[in-house]
Each structure stands twice: as C-alpha cells, then as structure tokens.
C-alpha cells in the first residue's frame, strides 16, 4: 500500500524492497509534487552527476514511481536498492552501476 492508499499489483510489490530505515546517499534530489515523467527525467539527469557505485536518493510523492523507478533501474542497468515510505512521500535509493 502506498502513501495515498495506492494499490500495487503483486508483481510490482515483489520487486519493491520496502526499507525500514534510510540508506546513506551520496546525492539527493527532491521532486515532491512533480508529476510523470519528471521522476524518470530527473533520475536520468542526476545519475549522470554522481560517480559509479554512489547512491542517489529520490524524494517523490508520485505513486507511479513505485512501478517506474525499479523498472527504469532494470532497463538502464543500475541497481534499485529499495524504497522508504515516509509520511507524505517516498524515498527511492538507486546505486549507479553504469556510466
């Protein structure tokens, strides 16, 4: 269940690694209140700005990100570390594996 009662299908839910606590990130981007496709465009831009093996944290309240961000990581060859569900947003963690 997401922050606004968003129901995920089982397949997506199994890909999501819901975290209990934050992961130390090397860079953070806050795109709360921005809609699709800003989450994907922002990740694409921000991940270019960090080094290999570094972690990017993405703050968003866009529910569609629960499906899109893990899928983007798989397609782009980066590692999806998990998502932390906070009071009014999610924090997604991604590790850069490819330049």
């Amino acid at each position: 269940m997401g922050i606004a009662g968003y129901k995920l299908n089982n397949q997506v839910n199994s890909q999501l690694n819901f975290l209990d606590k934050p992961i130390k990130a090397d860079a953070t981007t806050d795109i709360i209140y921005m809609m699709c496709p800003m989450h994907l465009l922002t990740i694409k831009k921000k991940i270019k700005e960090i080094d290999l093996d570094q972690v990017l944290a993405v703050l968003t309240d866009y529910e569609g990100a629960l499906e899109d961000i893990p899928a983007w990581c798989e397609i782009s060859g980066n590692e999806f570390l998990g998502v932390l569900e906070e009071e009014d947003h999610y924090t997604f963690y991604l590790r850069k594996l490819k330049e």
Binding site: D30, Y33, M34, M35, M38, L41, D88
Partner: protein, 399 residues
C-alpha cells in the same frame, strides 16, 4: 500635438533590440523546444540563455527561474503553490493592504478554501512596518507575501528587513516585484526572499512573459499540470519569442540600470516639486524618498480622476488614475484607502510614470500643462469652496 506617454507603470514599450531578438523565433526558429531535431534545439538553447539573463538580473541561479505568462500567473502560482504544499504545517497566510489584485484575489480564494489570512496595515506613506509582520506571525503561519514596490503610489517596501524576520522563523516569504524588477537593483540573496515575481513588460520586454523566482529547495505545487516544461513545474509549450524577449530585456536592464535611474529620478523630482508648488490642494501619495525612480502620484482635491485623464489626454498626455485595473473599474482604490486617503479624495487620484523615452522637454510641457488642466477642472467643479457637506474634511491633515 505633442504626445507624451506617462503610464510606464501600466506597461513599457518594447525595446527595439528586444523586438529584434524575438523575431527569429517567430520565423526560422519556430520549432517546439521539446523536440529533438536541430531547429528545436536552437529554440531550447534560446530559452536557457534567457533563463540565464533573467536569473542574472536578480542574482539567482538559472534553475531557480520558472517562466510564466504574466505577473498575475506568477503571483497565483506562488500563493496557491506554496499554500497547498504546506497546508499540513499550518493554514495562516500574511499579506498587506498594499497588494495588487492578483495577490488580494488569490488570498481571498485561499480564504474560501480554508486558509486564514491577515492583512497588514501600512502607514501614511504606504510602508509596511516589519514589527507588524513579526506580531502577526503565529505557529500556523506558512506563507508571507508582500509587495516590493507599489505601482500605484511608488513606495518601496523594506523587504530585506522583513526577510530577516521570516528567515529567523522559517516562514516562506514571497514578494511581488513586478513594478521594481528591472527598474531598481534587486539581489534575491540580499533581499532574503524565497519567491519573487517579475514581469518582462515592466522593463521594456514583451507582454506574455514573466517569471517566478523559486529558491532552490523550496517545494511548490504546480498551477498548471501537463508536460515537462519548466522542470514539470509549469506545463505548456513555451512562448519562445516572448521568453527570448524577456531574456534580452533583462540583459539590457542589468547593464543599463544605473543610467536609467539617473535619467528618471531627476525628471520625477521635477514633476513632484512643480506639482506640489503650482497646484493647490494636491498631495503626493507614497513615500517622498523611498519610491520608484520614474513614479510620481498624487491625489488632487475637488477633481475626479477620470476627468483629469480625459483632459490630459486632450492635451496629449497619457497617464493613469490608480492601478490599471482599478481605473478601468472606476472603483475606489484599496491602496489609497490603506494610506488613509478618504474615498471622496481618492477619486482625484492620478499616477504619472515615466521611462527612458521621456525627455526633459516632455516634463517641461507636462509641468506647464498639468496646473492649467487642474485650474480648468476646478473652474468647472461644484466643490470650489471645498468639501462642505461631504464626509471627513480632515483629509488634508497629511499635507
């Protein structure tokens, strides 16, 4: 007959270099800036250059500039976007009685939606007292929006001083700088504001282009959803020619600002001193010193503003009575009421705003004409002996 435009607070003529900079984006570089072929990339590059120039004008970062269609849109965006983004933290907004309708009507809308609004009073010069801001703040206050300079009475507000209070309390602070940006130096870091509205046609740019400065890290809810333009914060295909024109106007304003002020301030002072000396029963509205460099505004007793406008136009002088919106609606100005001008005196409001095209000869002609126009209207006025029978004869107390 000589024609003299004295309504620069209404709008400015577009600078010829600004118009030249825009033309290619109506013609060969017309492509949608979101497309990925070469002509589109040209348009995209032009927008980003304009963002750079606009940011530089107010010492912001380019990423902190969101282009919009007007000052009114930027003001709506700032107030609604910040209020709704922070409604879990509180529901109290502070503004003043000096604001433009795009602020006042938006906070009225927010009041209907459950927010509580405090309207600060001002002194007789239209100045907001920073200590009043401090006193109005509660634990529920999430947003303060105050005008930087009034288009109606020219007063420049102590925004930097107020920002020290809002920053200390951690409250988001927006200023409507439509009348000041591009006309007097503005540095958002020195001002200390989180959001600032500016509009191109107030500094020789085109109509249809404006911006909202949003300090990095400030969350805002978009006013217009749709595409990814302006970083997803303001959807809609960009008005490329107007944005390019705004960028050029910002570049010119930044490089020529001090020369422009040196041109305007002495001419403005000539209007003020001549009018106060030659016209009886007239009062300067707004602050005598802390005012916009090209702005002279008065209330003239026993005369109605529209009559002055018509007779001045008959003499080739174009000016305004109150704000552009108020004068069309023939309503008493809330700004004049807020500085203590009674309703019947406020009817005699007249605003003269000058610009780079205004010459010394224009002002000499104006200074000769205006007292004659008032003399003629007073001959026709039924109130030649004063306001007997009307309310509040104390209105001249400020003089």
């Amino acid at each position: 007959m000589k024609k003299i435009y004295m309504d620069y607070a209404g709008t400015n003529p577009t600078h010829p270099a600004v118009l030249d900079s825009m033309m290619p984006y109506f013609k060969e570089h017309f492509a949608n800036p979101l497309s990925i072929y070469e002509p589109a990339l040209k348009a995209r590059e032009a927008i980003e250059n304009a963002r750079q120039s606009t940011a530089s004008l107010i010492n912001a970062k380019p990423a902190e500039i969101i282009f919009t269609s007007s000052g009114a849109e930027s003001n709506n965006f700032a107030l609604k976007g910040i209020a709704y983004a922070n409604q879990k933290k509180g529901s109290h907004i502070i503004t003043s009685r000096m604001e433009h309708h795009s602020i006042l009507n938006t906070v009225r809308f927010l009041e209907k939606s459950g927010f509580r609004v405090t309207y600060l009073n001002v002194d007789n010069n239209g100045v907001i007292d920073p200590s009043d801001v401090e006193k109005a703040i509660t634990d529920e206050t999430i947003l303060i929006s105050l005008i930087h300079a009034s288009p109606e009475i020219g007063t420049i507000e102590p925004i930097a001083e107020i920002a020290k209070i809002t920053n200390k309390k951690g409250i988001i602070f927006h200023t409507d700088a439509v009348s000041s940006a591009g006309n007097i130096p503005i540095d958002v870091k020195e001002l200390g504001v989180d959001l600032l509205t500016l509009s191109a046609h107030q500094f020789y740019g085109p109509k249809g282009a404006a911006a909202l400065y949003l300090k990095e890290g400030t969350r805002i809810i978009p006013l217009i959803y749709g595409g990814i333009q302006e970083g997803g914060r303001r959807a809609g295909t960009e008005n490329v020619p107007a944005i390019v024109g705004m960028g050029k106007a910002a570049e010119l304003a930044e490089s020529e600002m001090m020369d422009r002020i040196k041109h305007l301030a002495p001419l403005r002072n000539k209007i003020i001193s001549n009018t106060l000396n030659k016209v009886k029963k007239v009062m300067l509205t707004g602050h005598p010193k802390e005012r916009l460099p090209g702005h002279a505004s008065f209330v003239v007793e026993y005369i109605e503003g529209e009559a002055m406008l018509l007779l001045l136009e008959g003499n080739g002088i174009y000016c305004a009575s109150g704000s552009a919106c108020t004068s069309r609606a023939l309503k008493s100005s809330p700004v004049l009421a807020s500085i203590g001008v009674p309703d019947h005196i406020a009817q005699g409001s007249v605003v003269f705003t000058i610009g780079q095209e205004t010459t010394e000869e224009d002002i000499d002609y104006f200074n000769e004409t205006f007292p004659k126009v008032i003399g003629k209207l007073r001959e026709m006025s039924p109130f030649t002996k004063g306001w007997e029978g009307l309310e509040d004869p104390e209105c001249t107390a400020k003089k």
